[in-house]
Subunit: 243 residues, 2 copies
């Protein structure tokens, strides 16, 4: 058996997230079905994390084990020819047997995208529209308080499945590009809905509805109610997975 | 009764084109339904042209007649709040009674988008992927032969509904931006599938499969078979409507 790391990119709009589930079509399901169509075998696929319904990935990693030898270019071309337009495989490389897409992962980077200005159906698919441009200086001040090792309990949904809620955020920035604003965040791991709650809290700060230092109180009190809302999935992108 | 010109922008992926038809949901249908939901009235909507299933519009124009006075900002905000994410209204202005979205139209500009490089699900939705970059100098030479007043019979589908197939192309260019290539074309009018056939012929020229001057023979012979293929709708955008 050989283990391969596959890198994917997908538009998550049509999918109920990554993980196979009985109530809707998922990205993992499509990958499994496509591998079977191409290689004729049931090949288990292990992802680097779950992603929520509607979340996109510019880079998502998974590993597969197969007895077949996969010649990189022919494999990529073949798999992409059976995959739908909204899911593409961008890389495939042999890895050692002890590599694990989830457990070997050292961290990830996400981005959350806002746009302001006229309603635009092309931006609307991948970004959250704001009536007015928020105060980016305030948002950046908030972002600085997020960086570091903290208990992110108050920045996660009650549906969280883990008990250890301490994570280390290594990067948290606001970047403006044209009429778009990106919150970029990297950490050693993320809790359920963590980026969407951090983005919602950053937005509330930028709109003057919450103080810049609200995160500090949230770390201490573990009180979810002190943060902003959980923003929609459609503007969230998994950007990079670190090993 | 007052007449209003509405400007729309839409992602056509989910729609069977502009015009209301029995076999699928169309953009016109959604606009009519949304106006009724907002204003409580059946308001006829007249578009500047049909667009094919799957074609997008960064600007599409239509007119409506209503007894109501439409205060611009409140009307735009209200209509956008009932429209789906993939159709947005961007402008509304009162016009004279003799203005007609279709018959007053003096021309339109379209673009067709190619991309080369790795398969990318976000590009894939709005562009046609090419394995290799075509020769842009050859494509531009072909484009120059398209400009002017010609009989575009050979650049239209057999499903055409008009008998006069002479049109005047005022602009036809190839523009490169990053890993994307745009064919931009403006004319006083377009025949059925005309841009998709011109784009397919330009591509065949850029890939060395057809000679640069093939359009000249196509104008003379009216022979569709001398051109390139009709490219997919997903990469075609109506960019601007001239009055």
């Amino acid at each position: 058996m050989s283990r391969y790391l596959l890198k994917l990119s997908y538009d998550g709009t049509a999918y109920h997230g990554w993980q196979i589930q009985p109530n809707g079509i998922t990205v993992q399901q499509v990958i499994c079905d496509s591998l079977k169509k191409m290689l004729g075998d049931d090949i288990p696929v292990t992802g680097c994390s779950r992603t929520d319904a509607g979340v996109h990935a510019r880079e998502f990693c998974c590993h597969i084990d197969t007895k077949l030898d996969l010649p990189k270019n022919a494999f990529l071309k073949g798999l992409n020819s059976v995959l739908p337009d909204d899911i593409k495989v961008t890389d495939c490389k042999a890895v050692s047997d002890d590599f694990h897409a989830r457990y070997s992962c050292k961290g990830k980077r996400y981005s959350y995208c806002f746009y302001f200005g006229k309603p635009d159906p092309f931006a609307e698919r991948y970004a959250l529209r704001l009536e007015k441009k928020p105060d980016l200086t305030l948002m950046n001040k908030f972002c600085k308080t997020i960086i570091g090792k903290h208990d992110f309990y108050a920045f996660s949904s009650s549906k969280r499945t883990v008990t250890d809620t301490v994570r280390t955020v290594t990067e948290c920035d606001i970047i403006e590009k044209g009429d778009k604003i990106y919150l970029k965040i990297a950490a050693d791991g993320f809790l359920y809905n963590m980026v969407r709650i951090i983005a919602g809290t950053a937005l509330a700060v930028g709109e003057g509805r919450l103080p810049c230092d609200c995160a500090i109180k949230m770390f201490e009190s573990k009180d979810r109610a002190l943060g902003g809302e959980t923003l929609p999935a459609k503007a969230l992108f998994l950007e990079e997975v670190f090993y």
